[in-house]
């Protein structure tokens, strides 16, 4: 808060102001310090992995980059699939609660969706193995029979349904409440005047939403999606329990061989890891860190390229 020109009228600085603003600055800086600590720790612990030789890896992998490559692919593949499934549904739910459902009902319905966020990831894992995978497996067989000529749907179909597609469904369900909750709050904050103006001009409800609510909420939707994506990228236990992994890049969605995700790979191998194996796993964690960084930078660019609608600027 520097005053650039001498003509600016300066507000009197009260002690309360000073204490409060420095408290916020300290908190903000504390976050930076915390993150720096995590990053430094990761980087230092990762260093031995980058020079690890073929003996330190299992299978045919010769160096760190060929080890982490398929994992990065699997992480992004499953998370993007999950996001593609979750975002439209989440926007739908948020709109339903904010603009379609009867007002009395809306509160309770929102509460219901928030409940999903409370289900521990282990339970999603158990549900994925025990309920979802057996349920979808017959569909996979049929889809492979009919559409097997299309590479991502090629066979042979998994015998248990524990594929990357199933994992994406589970992830989509897991990130749904996060995206929904934020979208819902933002849709509710749409200026009433905008909505009423649209309706007064003869717009139908959907047209009003498209013209007033969605443009207003867009930065929030993107922001919410990024939070959801962050969770999908880093989800550990549910993926580890549901996925049937394989150390390669695999585009097929419905077979028993699937590219693993970074977080799940850490969870699977960390318990028995020792020596340089731990460093290798931590280095994959660093890579995940960087992947999220890139994804978020991209999202920021998208948000900034649009005119911000928020009230505070």
């Amino acid at each position: 808060m520097t005053t650039a020109a001498a003509t600016t009228i300066k507000a009197r600085q009260r002690p309360g102001d000073r204490i409060f603003s420095s408290a916020t600055v300290i908190s903000g800086s504390l976050i930076l310090a915390m993150l720096a600590a995590v990053a430094i720790f990761l980087l230092v612990e990762s260093l031995p992995a980058f020079v690890a030789g073929p003996d330190d890896f299992s299978g045919d992998v010769t160096n760190f980059w060929s080890y982490v490559g398929p994992l990065v692919f699997g992480t992004i593949y499953s998370a993007v699939l999950a996001l593609l499934m979750a975002v439209p549904v989440a926007i739908g739910i948020a709109l339903f609660i904010s603009h379609f459902a009867p007002r009395k009902l809306a509160q309770g319905l929102g509460y219901l969706v928030d409940l999903l966020a409370a289900v521990p990831s282990v339970v999603f894992g158990l549900w994925g193995i025990g309920v979802l995978a057996p349920l979808v497996q017959p569909f996979y067989t049929t889809i492979v029979d009919w559409f097997g000529w299309f590479t991502p749907l090629a066979g042979p179909a998994s015998g248990t349904g524990r594929t990357i597609f199933t994992v994406s469904i589970v992830l989509a369900v897991m990130i749904l409440p996060i995206i929904t909750a934020i979208c819902r709050e933002i849709f509710l904050q749409t200026p009433l005047l905008h909505e009423e103006a649209a309706l007064a001009l003869g717009a139908t409800r959907w047209e009003m939403i498209r013209m007033a609510v969605l443009p207003f909420g867009l930065p929030g939707i993107i922001s919410a999606s990024m939070l959801g994506l962050g969770r999908a990228l880093g989800e550990t236990m549910a993926v580890a329990m549901v996925l049937s992994p394989s150390p390669e890049v695999i585009f097929q969605l419905l077979t028993a061989q699937n590219s693993n995700t970074i977080a799940a790979n850490i969870a699977l191998n960390f318990p028995e890891a020792h020596g340089v194996g731990v460093n290798i796993l931590l280095a994959t964690g660093l890579v995940l860190f960087i992947v999220t960084l890139l994804v978020n930078m991209l999202a920021r660019v998208i948000i900034n390229s649009r005119k911000a609608f928020s009230g505070a600027n």
Binding site: F20, V122, A181, L227, N313
Partner: protein, 362 residues
């Protein structure tokens, strides 16, 4: 939307070109009926075994979307038709989200209820319990203490940081915080646990360190970005007019924030905080590493291993004894307990938000 005169035999220029009032409901029921008839025929012709009730509703709903669009387009025109289609789709999206929720709650309840109803479940720990029996008291206490401590750390820091970003922050520091908070959302939970472990192993020079407070720190790393991001969004939505009105009345900035901005956005902020709690209360991987687990009670966050509910669920599932059913039952029951706790906290937070938020009539 609809006229009060739709029953009138007279042609009314106001209702012309509109579907009757309850048209969509009847179309929906008709679609389901047609779909049911189709599946009954399929069943009778022995093409599939069993009457497919899920298929009936899915197919019927799709049929409804098509039918209402076509009908509305014929009678009301394309704009109205699109509106009806979107209404149908949005409602369908909501129902789709409910399916897994109901499925999960149902599975958890059915599997968890028998064990939760055993008399010892909430009154004892797992100390010296082999096979069936025992309880989760130690894990419930552990979860409440660890998550409570994480909340106490994260909410002040996260909220103040988001206030800084929205109200004060300009320039490089604000941009850096915004950016790195985004990055922080991508810290995998297991890495947060490893970080906390490495930090405290170094601080206390103990390679086997396990204690509850470390778990709280690990959870804070995961929780803070969620709190910052959601609070930031909510604070941004507070209309500038409110702030300007307060400033114009000579209210200091910090009081404007505390008395005007925060109360206006409190419902959203509380939702965000509850989400962040829900996000971390079910975390398994970091607590497994730094809080460890034990079958005995521990009330001290700062020493010795502490059991938490998600870790309890995980260990019961992953390390089953010979009487595996007892372990699986306990796992589901603990999961159900966890969901119930979050439900309770959620309800509480909503009440708080309701009490404190200004009544805006929406």
């Amino acid at each position: 939307m609809s006229s009060v005169l739709e029953a009138s035999p007279l042609t009314n220029s106001l209702t012309a070109g509109k579907l009757p009032r309850r048209a969509s409901l009847w179309v929906l029921l008709a679609s389901w009926a047609v779909s049911a008839a189709f599946f009954v025929m399929l069943h009778l012709s022995a093409a599939v075994d069993g009457f497919n009730i899920v298929g009936t509703f899915v197919f019927g709903t799709v049929l409804y979307c098509v039918a209402i669009y076509v009908l509305s387009r014929l009678v009301e025109g394309s704009r109205k038709a699109k509106d009806r289609l979107m209404t149908a789709l949005v409602t369908a999206a909501f129902v789709i989200a409910l399916l897994p929720l109901i499925s999960i709650i149902y599975t958890t309840t059915v599997n968890g209820l028998p064990a939760i109803l055993t008399p010892t479940f909430f009154t004892s720990s797992q100390r010296n319990v082999v096979g069936a029996g025992g309880g989760v008291l130690h894990a419930v206490i552990g979860t409440l203490m660890v998550t409570g401590m994480a909340t106490l750390i994260s909410v002040p820091i996260g909220l103040l940081a988001s206030i800084y970003l929205v109200e004060y922050g300009r320039g490089r520091l604000a941009r850096a915080i915004t950016f790195f908070v985004d990055v922080m959302t991508g810290v995998p939970s297991i890495v947060a646990g490893l970080f906390a472990f490495a930090l405290f192993a170094l601080l206390f020079d103990d390679p086997g360190i396990r204690f509850g407070f470390g778990g709280a720190i690990a959870l804070s790393v995961l929780m803070i970005p969620v709190v910052v991001r959601s609070s930031e969004e909510m604070l941004k939505l507070v209309p500038n007019e409110l702030r300007e009105a307060a400033f114009a009345l000579g209210v200091p900035k910090w009081l404007t924030i505390l008395k005007v901005v925060l109360p206006t956005s409190i419902a959203g902020i509380v939702t965000g905080v509850m989400l962040s709690i829900a996000r971390v209360i079910g975390e398994t991987a970091p607590l497994l590493i730094i809080a460890g687990f034990t079958s005995s009670m521990n009330y001290d966050l700062f020493s010795e291993r502490m059991m938490t509910l998600p870790v309890f669920v995980y260990t019961q599932y992953a390390n089953q004894g010979a009487d595996s059913q007892a372990f699986i039952d306990r796992a589901w029951a603990a999961a159900l307990t966890l969901i119930l706790i979050v439900m309770l906290l959620n309800g509480l937070a909503r009440l708080i938000a309701y009490w404190f938020s200004p009544k805006l009539g929406r």
